[in-house]
Symmetry: C2
Subunit: 404 residues, 2 copies
C-alpha cells in the first residue's frame, strides 16, 4: 500500500488509466450514449460502474486536476484557481508554478515506488503542476514537438503519435491526448497513466449537438482501444459547463469590480477571477466564481449581504465560511467568495473583458452549478459505501482500491 | 380599474396579447436569438423589456396557466396540478374540471367589464379551465374543427385559420395557436388575447438545436405580425425544461411508490404525480414533483428525513411547509411534497410507467430546477420595483399596468 495525503492506495496490478475530460458536464455523455455515439461507454456503464460526483468549487481546471492527482481538496494541495492575488508580493499571478503546490501527487509517489507513470495534458499550463516531483513521462499536446528526455521523460512524441501538433484552440488538441495515450500504452505499457483534455469543444457546443457528439465519439474510440489492451479506465471531469447568457443570447455578467468601484470607490476593493489564464478567447475570462479583497477597515458581512441581493448571485461567503464549505486554503482567497448561478458569470470591469473572440453564445463554469461530473469506471466496484458523497478526486481510489 | 384576486388592473387601451409558451426554458430564446432566428424578439428585448421570472412549483402546465390568467398562485386559484387525489371521494382524478377552480380569472372579469376577449390553447384540456365564466372566444387547436358559437364563441375556425387540425403530438399544434391568434387579431381585433401553446417540441429538443430553433423562428414570425398590428405583447412560460437522464441516456427516475411499498408495505402510502394527464407519450408521466399521502398513524417527519437522503432528491417538505413555500392549497396536497433535482424525475412504480413512447432522451419539468421562465414585454416598462421577484403570473400586470 502507498499512503499519499492521508489516503491509502493499492499498487496497480494492471495498467490503470485515469481520464479527466475537461468541462464534461454529465449530459454530454448521456446525450452521446443515447444517440449511439459511444458504444464503449455504453458497455462500460452496463458492465462497469457509472457514478455522478462533485468536483471542487471553484469548478475550474487547475484546482480540479490537482485534486484528482493528489486525491485531496485545494485546502490540502493549495491550488485554488488558475490565477491568484499573491498577498506576499501584492501582485496578481498565474498559479502554474509548482511553488504553489502544498502536497505531493499520487503520480509522484507511484513513480517513487517504482511504477512507470505517464501523464499527457492538452495545454502546457497544467503539465508542470501535474508532473511536479514525478519521475516518468509528462508532456502536453500543445508542446508535443518540444519534448525532451530531460524535461518530459520522452522525445519524438510527434513521430510516435503520427499527428501534427494541433492548434491550442481546437478539438484536435484533446484528440492528440487520447491518441498519445493509446500509443504510449501500445509501446510502453505504463502502470499508471493520467490523461487530461481541454474544454474547447465544451465551451462552444452544448450536450447532444453534432459537434459535441463528434468529440465524444472520437474519445470513445480511443478509450475502447485502451480497454482492449486490458486497462482499468476511470473517467471523470474537472468541472461541468453551462450556458451563461441572457434572453438576448449575450453573456449575462455581474461586473463585480465595477460594482465595488461604485460602492467603495475606484480600485478600493480587488476582484480576482481565478478562471483567468492566457487562453481566454473562448470564454473571455468569464466564469461563475470570484474572490474579493476588501480595503482595510471595510467589514465583510454588510458587503456580503448586499452582494447576495444582486440578481444572478447564488452564494456569497466570507473567507472562513468559504474555505470550510469549498475546502479552500483560506490564505489564498480574499475576504469574500462570490458564486453566481447557472446562467450568470462574474466579470471584473466591463472595460477589461474582451468578448470579441466569442463566436458562440457563452458557455462557462466555475460555480456550484457546474459541480456535477461523471465518475465512470469500466469495472464493477466492490467495498464502497452507498451513502458516500463521490468526488472527482476519488478516481484513483476507485481505480486502484475498489475494482473487482 | 378592475380588481381581480386582490390585484388591480387598468383596462386595455390597445390590443393586449399574453403568450404562454409551454416549456420555454429561457435558454431556448437566448440560443434562438443568438443564432439569428428571432429578429422580432431581438428587437423586443432591445426596445422593450426582458425579465426572468419564477413560475409556480409544481412547474406544470395547468397550475401555471391558471396562475397567469388569475394573477395569483395555486393557494388562491386551487389548481395545483394536472391530476390530484380527491380525498373527499377517495379517488385520483384529472383536474380539468372547472369545479376545482377557487378564483375567477382576469379574462372573465375583463369580458364582464365589456371588453372583447379571445383565448386559444393548444390542447383542449386547458380550455375549459381558462374559459370558465368567460364570455368571448375560447377554443383549442386540438378541437378547432368542433368549435361552436355556443361552446366556443366562434365557429368556422379551420376556415379562418386556413390550416388543418394538427396532431396532438406535433409542433403544428402550437403553430395553429399563433396562426389563429394572428387571424383573430386581423379579423376581430379583440381587446385582450391569451395564447397558450404545448411543449411537444421542448420535451424532445434542447435549446439551440435545429428543431427548437425552427419552433422559435416560427413563433417569432407570428409575434412580429401581432406587433405590426399594434399589439402589446407579454411573453412568458408555464415552466422550463431540463434533460432528465442518467449517464447512459436513460430516464433517471426515483420510483417513489416502490420506495414507499418497501418502506411501509405495498400500497400503504399513495404517491401522486401531478404531471399525469392523458397525453404522456412524450414524458411517460415522469416529472420532478410528487406528493405523498401517508397511511394514518405514520409520522411524516422521519419519512421526510429518509427521502431527503435519496440520491437525486432536492427538497422534501411536509404539507404545511410545502403549502407555504410553494403557495399551494394545503387541502389538495399530500402529507409530503417531494421535488427531485435538475437531472432526476420521480415516478410511482417502475411497472406503471410506459416509457416505450420515448423516442428521444427524456426532457421534463415539475421541479424547482424548471422554475426560471422568460417574462418579456415588447414595450418599455414604467413604475416597477427593481427588487421585485418577478412571477410569470405578473404578465397581465406588466402588460396592462406598466407599459410606457
Amino acid at each position: 500500500m502507498l499512503t499519499v495525503n492521508h489516503r491509502s492506495y493499492r499498487r496497480p496490478t494492471q495498467p490503470t488509466v485515469v481520464v479527466c475530460v475537461d468541462g464534461c458536464e454529465p449530459d454530454y455523455l448521456a446525450q452521446a450514449v443515447a444517440a449511439g455515439h459511444m458504444p464503449w461507454l455504453k458497455k462500460a456503464l452496463a458492465e462497469g460502474s457509472g457514478l455522478v460526483a462533485d468536483c471542487v468549487v471553484p469548478s475550474f481546471t487547475n484546482p480540479n486536476n490537482l485534486s484528482i492527482v493528489t486525491g485531496a481538496p485545494p485546502s490540502v494541495h493549495g491550488i485554488c484557481g488558475n490565477y491568484l492575488f499573491d498577498t506576499a508580493s501584492g501582485t496578481e499571478v498565474m498559479m502554474n508554478d509548482p511553488k504553489w503546490l502544498r502536497a505531493p501527487s499520487l503520480l509522484a509517489a507511484l513513480a517513487d515506488a517504482g511504477h512507470s507513470v505517464a501523464v499527457v495534458t492538452a495545454k502546457d499550463k497544467l503539465r508542470r503542476l501535474l508532473g511536479h516531483g514525478m519521475k516518468g513521462i509528462c508532456f502536453s499536446s500543445e508542446k508535443a514537438d518540444q519534448c525532451t528526455i530531460e524535461e518530459n521523460g520522452i522525445d519524438g512524441v510527434v513521430q510516435l503519435v503520427g499527428k501534427p501538433v494541433p492548434s491550442v484552440y481546437s478539438a484536435d488538441l484533446s484528440e492528440f491526448v487520447f491518441a498519445a495515450g493509446v500509443r504510449l500504452m501500445q509501446t510502453r505499457r505504463p502502470d499508471v497513466m493520467y490523461l487530461s483534455t481541454t474544454d474547447y469543444v465544451q465551451h462552444k457546443h452544448a450536450p447532444g449537438t453534432p459537434e459535441a457528439n463528434a468529440f465524444y465519439a472520437m474519445m470513445d474510440g480511443y478509450l475502447g482501444q485502451l480497454e482492449a489492451m486490458g486497462c482499468v479506465i476511470a473517467l471523470t471531469a474537472d468541472h461541468g459547463m453551462n450556458s451563461k447568457v441572457g434572453l438576448d443570447g449575450r453573456p449575462q455578467v455581474i461586473y463585480l469590480q465595477d460594482w465595488f468601484d461604485r460602492e467603495l470607490g475606484e480600485g478600493a476593493a480587488r476582484v480576482i477571477l481565478p478562471i483567468t489564464d492566457p487562453y481566454v478567447v473562448h470564454h473571455g475570462a468569464l466564469g461563475s466564481f470570484a474572490t474579493v479583497y476588501l480595503p482595510a477597515g471595510t467589514a465583510a458581512a454588510p458587503m456580503a449581504d448586499k452582494l447576495r441581493r444582486l440578481p444572478g448571485m447564488e452564494v456569497v461567503l466570507e473567507r472562513g465560511a468559504a474555505a470550510e464549505r469549498f475546502e479552500l486554503p483560506p490564505d489564498r482567497i480574499g475576504d469574500l467568495v462570490c458564486v453566481s448561478e447557472r446562467f450568470t458569470v462574474i466579470g471584473t470591469s466591463a472595460s477589461r473583458h474582451d468578448l470579441s473572440g466569442l463566436d458562440a453564445p457563452l458557455r462557462s463554469h466555475g460555480g456550484i452549478s457546474e459541480q456535477r461530473v461523471p465518475l465512470v469506471v469500466n469495472r464493477k466496484l466492490t467495498g464502497i459505501d452507498p451513502a458516500r458523497r463521490w468526488r472527482n478526486f476519488d478516481a484513483f481510489d476507485l481505480a486502484l482500491n475498489h475494482v473487482a
